[in-house]
Amino acid sequence: MESNELNSPEYEIPPELKAQVAITSLDKIYNWGRSASVWPLMFGLACCAIEMICAAASRYDIARFGMEIMRPSPRQSDLMIVSGTVTKKMIPVIVRLYNQMPEPKYVLSMGACASGGGPFKEGYNVVSGVDKFIPVDVYVPGCPPTPQALLNGLMKVQEKIRGEPIKTARWYKKGPDLAEIPVPMLGPDLIDPRKITLIQNGDKN
């Protein structure tokens, strides 16, 4: 076929190619822009935060990835790096911050404590993993993960961003997918509002 026949408006594009031809290159450009300028939320909880600061310092330089703009305000950031132990007193704050971040947003759970409670899992004030409350995209194990391990994790986030087609993007849909996560309350122990019926029936089990 000649090229002017392909480009004429009467040419019928086969249906199985319809969704992919134009959107794929648009996806690539769209995702390239997003993945090369992820702005992390400046959110250091504990020891892992020091390794995050070292990753942002001159030896491991996350500015090479476009991430040196660490915004303290959640309204201006894309990626929440939960670095450190998540305690029950702190989790309402974390959930509130997550709700305030605009879409598209990602969460990277850095270190053993944020991934699964870490060495402090048995403590009475520790939430065993931030994924009990907010959805996590990438887990980076280690205690603490060295800055090179954190950079490896950030590259995985970029890989995930580059693989997301616009057609299935969560933030362009309407509906309950985007509901806010209800903020936990602090009573005699931590109360997750999503589990209220479970708590009310709790001691009958």
Binding site: R59, A112, S115, Y139, P145, G153, K156
Partner: protein, 200 residues
């Protein structure tokens, strides 16, 4: 001159300017061979390093020292036919000494007699609890569990490692920790030799 207001700021700016100049001077002195090779990386981390301090991961990786500890792994010896025997005898010392208790071991039992066999039936380590302290490797009497150097473990899921995921060969261990491996192999050979002498 000593009372000029702003002198302190100018001194500070002088330091910044000096470092700025040093950055490009160092590049010139090395004639472009300063990046993407081991000598350049070592120079940047040494006492004479001036200029750009950045080591550009992932193209350049700072080599980790021998003692570096990340997640543990189980060592197996490779036999003549390629069969893999784990050195672990499931004595349980690593599970007893682990501070956050992240090691779960089920010791095998002989199905015929019901007596324990020195081999693990199940061996799990929850890497999302492990604090990379190295006590398991330090107190293992059989050199069976050692600390790994691999830190590129980021994943999209939680990490609980089973026996298959944890096993790596003794050759790999000697490659990452040559000094320690030589010393331990010599100690084990000496112990085996003294045992055979006693038997005779």
């Amino acid at each position: 001159m000593s009372d000029m207001y702003g002198k302190g700021i100018l001194k500070g700016l002088g330091v910044s300017l000096k470092r700025f100049a040093e950055t490009y001077l160092d590049d010139l002195v090395w004639l472009g061979r300063r990046y993407n090779n081991d000598k350049g990386i070592a120079h940047r981390s040494s006492k004479e390093g001036r200029g750009i301090f950045t080591v550009q991961y992932p193209e350049e990786k700072i080599p980790v020292p021998e003692e570096f500890r990340f997640v543990p792994f189980l060592v197996y010896d490779e036999g003549a036919n390629g069969e893999k025997t784990l050195r672990c005898t499931s004595c349980g010392i690593c599970a007893k000494v682990c501070p956050p208790q992240c090691i779960w071991i089920v010791r095998s039992t002989d199905p015929a007699t019901g007596r324990p066999i020195p081999d693990p039936a199940q061996f799990y380590i929850d890497a999302d609890i492990c604090m990379n302290c190295g006590l398991c490797a330090e107190f293992c009497p059989f050199d069976a569990i050692k600390m790994d150097h691999d830190y590129e473990l980021a994943s999209f899921k939680r990490s609980v490692y089973d026996e298959a995921g944890l096993s790596k060969s003794a050759g790999y261990y000697s490659a990452i920790r040559p000094v320690n491996a030589k010393r331990e192999d010599a100690a084990r050979a000496a112990k085996a030799a003294s045992r055979t002498v006693r038997v005779e």
